[in-house]
């Protein structure tokens, strides 16, 4: 029988949660997030500075002797729950999880130096693969020629906020500074404007080699796997916000001389959503613990978490829109930010269907043979 690991929260993890929650309450209310999505500066640099530099949360996955906090995926997952609850426009998942985990798996001085810079939070990194890429899936590579990179990668999340891009190319994984000549980052009009995508164009861009061949491929896979596993915690926080706000609204909103939340048709929908959220907490904790400790097969735990959490977050946001009625359809009410984040998250790092197909191999439930 497999071990399940610790699915609860430790006191330290709860302390991280309350610190992040109170920071977000002061600096990341929904109206401010909404206003920012329409500004020239979609990422909240002040908030990132407070989280990363001030609280040291960018280095949770990095051991202390490599410049980090020496914590684990369990603590990072709690940070993501809170960031999801606030749809916070900061590159935590992309820089502090995916790029950081990728660098952790690269040996060599170039990677070590960059890892320490990301862990400090003063440098923001992004892995230059399309955000929809599942951990085990193929991804585009640019061309490496005469010491420089040439090519284009579309749909890179948070690239516009990044100081350095980790770029897969023929022959390995390279680091590219975004400020250099030959590097263009063009924002795309994204469904989720709190985590905008961009096209990265490299035209003889100067690059430093981080890892070669199989080491590079494995590092990218590990980065994407941690991203997918911990995304479930962001989806949990997002779904919880939707549930809590909708419960609050249906208690206050009166129609037919009653709070609409007293109608059984609505109560049952909200009770079902609560069950989904309870399940999501278990599966998200399981994934975070598996990534932190290696218990119970991290590949399986990650695929399971995404197969479950992605549709729950979407349903929570869709239910929130519907049960808010007319106000839920407006630009002014923040629920659409959650809907867009949830829908985008359901494609990010592999859809639920893709993760289920991955599970088919992992747990030996093979597809029918094609005739």
């Amino acid at each position: 029988m497999t071990s399940q690991g610790d699915l609860l929260y430790t006191e330290e993890e709860e302390a991280v949660r309350s610190a992040v929650r109170s920071l977000l309450a002061d600096h990341c209310d929904p109206a401010a997030v909404l206003a920012r999505t329409e500004s020239e500066q979609p990422h909240d640099r002040e908030l990132w500075k407070a989280l990363a530099d001030g609280m040291g949360l960018a280095g949770l996955l990095v051991p202390e002797d490599r410049g980090g906090q020496g914590a684990s995926h369990r603590e990072a997952a709690v940070v993501l729950e809170e960031l999801g609850r606030a749809v916070a426009p900061v590159p935590y998942l992309t820089s502090a999880v995916i790029a950081t985990e990728t660098l952790l798996a690269c040996a060599g001085d170039a990677a070590a130096e960059l890892l320490a810079a990301l862990a400090s939070g003063r440098t923001v990194g992004a892995l230059a693969v399309p955000f929809a890429t599942a951990p085990e899936a193929a991804h585009p590579r640019v061309r490496f020629d005469r010491g420089a990179l040439h090519g284009e990668v579309r749909g890179v999340a948070d690239a516009a906020a990044a100081d350095v891009l980790l770029v897969p190319a023929d022959g390995g994984l390279f680091a590219v500074d975004t400020g250099r000549d030959g590097v263009t980052v063009t924002p795309q009009t994204s469904l989720d404007r709190t985590r905008p995508l961009a096209v990265v164009t490299l035209d003889a861009a100067p690059a430093r080699l981080l890892a070669e061949g199989a080491e590079a491929d494995a590092a990218i896979r590990l980065g994407l796997r941690s991203g997918a596993g911990l995304l479930a915690s962001e989806q949990l926080g997002l779904a919880e916000w939707c549930l809590t706000e909708t419960v609050r609204y249906t208690k206050e909103r009166h129609q037919f001389n009653r709070p609409v939340g007293s109608f059984q048709a609505l109560k049952h929908r909200l009770a079902r959503l609560w069950l989904d959220v309870v399940n999501t907490r278990a599966v998200a904790r399981h994934a975070a613990d598996a990534l932190a400790t290696g218990s119970d097969e991290p590949n399986l735990a990650t695929a399971l978490a995404q197969a479950h959490a992605a549709p729950v977050a979407v349903r929570a946001a869709e239910e929130a829109v519907q049960l808010h009625g007319g106000i839920g359809m407006t630009w002014e009410h923040p629920v659409h930010l959650y809907l867009k984040r949830a829908k985008a998250d359901s494609i990010a790092l592999g859809t639920a269907g893709r993760h289920r197909e991955n599970l088919a191999d992992l747990v030996d439930l093979p597809a029918p043979a094609t005739p």
Binding site: V247, K251, R258, R356, A360, L365
Partner: protein
């Protein structure tokens, strides 16, 4: 009492002492269980003298593990589930000293089986509307009425019974709780055949049954409050066990899928993977709940477990029948039987499919449980109540 505090080490010591004085290999089963009860190792959180030691409930696992390793017999908890899970906590909470001494030991040892005389043909989800009457006559009560969906009634020695003692009060206030002797004249148990073909349940007809007042639990008119203890424990006793991956209903389907490639289709594959994910997630939720209980942080999550399992069991068993194709058109056996215990995953796919239909009805319908989650966990406003202040006799029934 030695004066020592009861911790895990002390429980281990006492368990080893029990095993030394009553070696399971050479001790008759009932004798061993009786000795275990008298040593306070039956349910360690119960008081001394009543099978326990007043220890924390979480330490029961220490005793159970030691005894299991030593190959000691257990009290076959599935056969006496209603006694252990429902009657016992109610007797402990509301019984007189004499009632506790008389009933708890044979209940735990399994010498006396219990059943629950609550539901009626006219009072299912709205249990408080029940119409079985109990009329005072000297030192006794005379009970007339009909109970239904009563498992174990045909093997039971005792029944926990709620009956109406004052029809002029609103429904929740005129109920009293009794212990009914199932061997009394006037108690008639008839098998109630279900859609599975077997009669796991019974209907119980009560005609002029005389219940002595000494077998009343709690005050006259307090029966609803007492029954809440029973029902709360019914839901607690579900869950709490550690289940391996594929340990539930999904197990046989996954096995059939692996062993019989000729049954596979793309449509079934997608649905199987979705249900496998849901089953594994539900298992992890149960495991998280168990960890919360062990850590002494019980949350409201438990109230949702039964809802999830009912729906999953139904969907998975439905998929299994479909997966089997031509075999799914057959059924193992329609013979009318009266089984002693229920096994949801027992027998074959067709039985599992049909039996699982009861999972969203027994122990509270899924619709009522969703109301409970919405109102007690989420704090949503209650349904408007038209029956709260109306005398029971004036209700539309």
């Amino acid at each position: 009492m030695t004066g020592r505090t009861i911790d895990a080490g002390e429980l281990r010591r006492r368990t080893q002492q029990l095993l030394a004085e009553h070696p399971p290999a050479t001790t008759e089963r009932t004798a061993f269980l009786t000795a275990r009860f008298d040593a306070g190792l039956a349910w360690v959180h119960y008081p001394e003298g009543l099978g326990g030691l007043g220890a924390p409930r979480s330490l029961q696992a220490v005793v159970d593990t030691e005894l299991e390793e030593a190959g000691a017999p257990d009290n076959d908890p599935r056969r006496i589930g209603i006694g252990l899970g429902m009657a016992a906590p109610t007797i402990l909470g509301f019984g007189t000293d004499e009632q506790k001494r008389r009933f708890l030991r044979p209940l735990w040892v399994g010498e006396e089986v219990w059943c629950q005389l609550f539901s009626e043909p006219g009072a299912g989800s709205d249990l408080a509307a029940l119409g079985t009457r109990a009329v005072r006559d000297g030192d006794s009560w005379v009970v007339d009425g009909q109970k239904v969906w009563t498992s174990s009634a045909h093997t039971a020695r005792w029944g926990i019974l709620i009956a109406r003692t004052d029809p002029d009060l609103p429904k929740h206030r005129g109920i009293t709780y009794f212990i009914c002797d199932m061997t009394d004249p006037g108690v008639e148990v008839r098998p109630l055949r279900q859609l599975t073909g077997e009669a796991e349940f019974n209907e119980v007809f009560l005609t002029g049954v005389r219940v002595p007042d000494s077998r009343r639990l709690g005050e006259v008119g307090d029966g609803w409050k007492v029954a809440q203890t029973t029902l709360m424990n019914e839901r607690v006793s579900i869950g709490g066990m550690r289940i391996p991956r594929e340990g539930g209903m999904i197990g046989p389907v996954a096995k059939a899928w692996r062993e019989r490639p000729e049954l596979r289709t793309h449509d079934l594959h997608q649905r199987l993977l979705s249900l496998w994910v849901e089953a594994e997630v539900a298992r992890l939720t149960g495991e998280r709940l168990r960890q919360q209980l062990v850590a002494g942080q019980p949350g409201p999550e438990g109230s949702g477990m039964k809802l999830g399992f009912a729906r999953l069991n139904q969907e998975i068993s439905g998929l299994e029948v479909e997966l089997l194709g031509e075999e799914g058109l057959l059924y193992d056996d329609w013979t009318m039987r009266r089984p002693d215990l229920v096994d949801f995953t027992g027998r074959e796919a067709g039985y599992r499919y049909l039996r699982a239909k009861g999972n969203s009805i027994e122990g509270g319908t899924s619709e009522v449980l969703l109301n409970i989650v919405a109102e007690r966990v989420l704090g949503l406003p209650p349904e408007p109540r038209t029956d709260k202040d109306v005398a029971w006799k004036d209700l539309n029934r």
